[in-house]
């Protein structure tokens, strides 16, 4: 699989405009590493939590740490807004979202998560494949109408790229020159269906040309490349040049979810061959070779990740169910008599159980 940045029909990175961001500093590179370790550790722990019965299910992002942390790191949470799927734990962590509140969705506490999306700048967790991509376009157009400078970034995968809403979103965004970054994680698999059975032409990025939209196809396992490409895309959109598409080529090293069995559709040998080098290990070697970090730093980052996971696990364990009244109270801003009657009946009858 060729994951090198590829110029696409004249709408490649060279055509991105807007101020160039400064290169990442050594401090920022170390921060990216720490974030990746924290995400890796929480991700693998969450699978263990599921096996232990602490949470009923989880959608792992093993192998996508560079794509998620690198892109989430580029977000300016004072003015931008992010629209995730159900597999964006690394993005949420990089944006500084409360991780107990985020992981509560996997504890089956509340579908959208317990974090405040307005304050977190992260829309509620989205279970509909491709469901929130149009929302990003609407939010971004609102920035244009308000003459504000925020940018919307929306995540989806190679599988979601088959959805009609993705076409509508890209076309709307391009027609309206909305400040949107379409961030595609092409992780090779939509549950059991590989990209070649999903994406005609083999590239989501190539489609951007049809919308007159610049696209970047990048190595999604290189966290620095991801962070820099995302910053460039944000600068382009923020400068009023319209939407940008980034296709980060990566690999879903784990199952689709804790209920999935990849052995039914791919062999361990295929996984080994297709996954390439672990993005975390690759970044560690690079930082070491460049003299930016040493073994003591790596050990410290891992210890911090473990401590963080301990805290999140404790928070998840302590998380009780939401009161049943919320089922009724959060449907509308202005409730209805019928809903009030149902709530009253539920309350009365559940008290007699």
């Amino acid at each position: 699989m060729d994951t090198s940045p590829s110029p696409l029909n004249g709408n490649d990175a060279g055509h991105l405009s807007g101020p160039h961001a400064e290169p990442l500093t050594a401090e920022q590179l170390r921060e990216l590493y720490s974030l990746m370790v924290a995400v890796r550790h929480l991700d693998t722990s969450a699978i263990a939590w599921q096996r232990q019965g602490l949470i009923p299910g989880y959608a792992p992002e093993l192998g996508q740490e560079a794509a998620q942390v690198g892109s989430g790191y580029a977000v300016d949470t004072t003015r931008d807004f992010v629209f995730p799927t159900y597999r964006e734990m690394g993005v949420a962590r990089a944006m500084g979202v409360d991780m107990v509140a985020y992981m509560s969705t996997h504890k089956a506490t509340w579908h959208g998560g317990l974090y405040n999306p307005i304050e977190s700048r992260l829309a509620p967790i989205q279970a509909v494949v491709g469901g929130s991509v149009l929302h990003a376009v609407g939010w971004a157009h609102g920035q244009t109408l308000d003459q504000a400078d925020g940018v919307a970034m929306t995540y989806f995968g190679d599988g979601a790229s088959s959805q009609g809403d993705i076409h509508e979103a890209m076309n709307f965004a391009a027609v309206m020159k909305a400040p949107v970054v379409f961030f595609v994680q092409n992780n090779g698999w939509a549950i059991s269906v590989p990209t070649e059975r999903q994406v005609a032409g083999g590239s989501v990025a190539a489609r951007a040309a049809g919308y007159g939209m610049p696209a970047l196809r990048i190595d999604g396992n290189d966290v620095v490349a991801v962070a820099e490409a995302t910053r460039r895309a944000f600068a382009h959109a923020r400068a009023g040049n319209g939407p940008v598409l980034i296709e980060a080529m990566t690999y879903r090293r784990g199952p689709h979810s804790t209920s999935d069995d990849p052995g039914r559709y791919r062999s361990l040998n295929e996984e080994r061959d297709d996954a390439g080098e672990d993005p975390l290990e690759r970044f560690r070697k690079q930082l070491l070779a460049d003299g930016i970090a040493d073994d003591a730093f790596f050990a410290e980052a891992l210890a911090a990740a473990k401590a963080e996971e301990d805290d999140i696990r404790a928070g998840i364990q302590a998380l009780g169910s939401r009161p049943g009244t919320e089922m009724f109270d959060l449907v509308f801003q202005e409730t209805t008599p019928a809903l009030q009657a149902q709530a009253a009946s539920w309350r009365e009858e559940s008290e007699h159980v």
Binding site: F81, W110, H111, G112, L114, N116, P117, I118, A123, P124, V128, G131, S132, V133, L134, H135, A136, V137, G138, W139, A140, H141, G142, Q143, L145, D146, A152, G164, D165, E168, A169, N171, F172, V175, E326, D329, L330, V331, F332, Q333, E334, T336, P337, A338, L339
Partner: protein
């Protein structure tokens, strides 16, 4: 009436001057309501297919772009899921979108966004992301239009938690219900009876509902459009006018019919419905939508629940049939006509227990 010539719009603060009564078509009344909503709320936006320069295929948005600008009133690409999905993001950003889907049947491609996103976002976000979206849908049949231009979607949307559904029956209701719906913090599906767009009627700008009515003057709940003693006809949208005609004909035979315009199809005003049928002890529900699992079943059950002891006959439903909405040549066979409604009334009046 001298007030009738006054300029409409929010420039004139409500309640400070009487605006009186005007004869308007429903199209004009809806246009007036949108104009006033746009003027009063800088975050209100009107958009959809051909809503801008053209003023909509039914001209409901006529002149609004010229008056309020291309930022507030605009054309979108021709994709309904895109229109509704975009509305979600705009609502998240603090706007009050008032999108239009051009015809009822064109709402089907947007059902995913309406049902999975708009209806649930307030819930999913725990009340932090309300969806004040007023979706205008030219609805129902009666204009000899092509396929998918005559659908009745009320039961579909009323069944979805998180949505509210309303349908006006005349210009007065259209003006007040749209102004009301477009200022609510929850999503409202606003079903406009397209066969009534060009019928004129009196719009009393100062008084949505008669003073002293159970709704306290605001256009919520159901409304008695004609008081009667022998039987209640329950209807909404274009069927209200037909039921009023039926009531006049029945009156010639000494049958005194009450016509109840349900207006809000979700939430249904159970109290007004029950009060009417408790008085008349007989009810017939009339709608254009197919019979099976239609809203008539819900209305009949609500009546049965509230009035079982006093009902003189089972609630009758006079509706469209369980067939795809037919071509224009057959639509008069499909939509409940005066004769079918009269037969239904007769069955209820002649019902004998045992």
């Amino acid at each position: 009436m001298s007030n009738a010539t006054l300029e409409s719009g929010a420039a004139m603060a409500e309640g400070t001057a009487r605006r009186g009564v005007e004869q308007l078509s429903m199209q004009q009344a809806l246009n007036r309501a949108l104009d006033e909503v746009l003027a009063a709320n800088p975050k209100a936006l009107v958009f959809g297919e051909d809503c801008g320069r053209l003023g909509g295929v039914f001209r409901i948005t006529d002149g609004l772009q010229a008056k309020h600008g291309t930022g507030r009133v605009f054309d979108t690409p021709l994709a309904e899921s895109g229109i509704l999905g975009m509305s979600v993001g705009l609502a998240m950003a603090g706007f009050h979108p008032i999108p239009e889907v051009q015809f009822d049947g064109f709402a089907y491609p947007a059902v995913n966004q309406i049902v999975c996103q708009i209806a649930r976002m307030n819930y999913r976000s725990r009340g932090t992301m309300p969806m004040p979206i007023t979706l205008r849908v030219p609805s129902f049949g009666g204009i000899r239009a092509p396929e998918h231009h005559g659908e009745s979607l009320e039961a579909l949307f009323a069944h979805v938690p998180g949505l509210k559904v309303v349908s006006p029956s005349n210009p007065h209701e259209a003006y007040h219900l749209l102004k009301y719906a477009a200022t609510r913090p929850d999503p409202v599906i606003f079903m406009e009876p397209k066969s009534r767009y060009w019928q004129k009627g009196e719009v009393d700008f100062d008084s949505p509902d008669p003073a002293g009515s159970p709704t306290g003057g605001s256009p919520t709940g159901a409304k008695v459009m004609r008081a009667g003693r022998h039987l209640t006809l329950v209807a909404w949208g274009a069927m209200v006018a037909r039921c009023l005609q039926v009531a006049e004909l029945a009156a010639e035979d000494g049958i005194d019919i009450e016509v109840l315009d349900l207006r809000w199809l979700k939430p249904i005003d159970e109290a007004t419905l029950a009060a009417s049928v408790r008085k008349t002890r007989r009810a017939v529900v009339v709608h254009e939508a197919p019979l099976t699992s239609g809203l008539g079943a819900e209305v009949a059950q609500l009546i049965t629940q509230a009035c079982f002891d006093t009902l003189k006959a089972p609630v009758e439903r006079i509706t469209g049939f369980d067939v795809p909405y037919p071509s224009g040549d057959l639509e008069d066979e499909y939509i409940p006509n005066i004769d079918r409604i009269l037969f239904g009334i007769q069955r209820v009046l002649e019902y004998k227990r045992g």
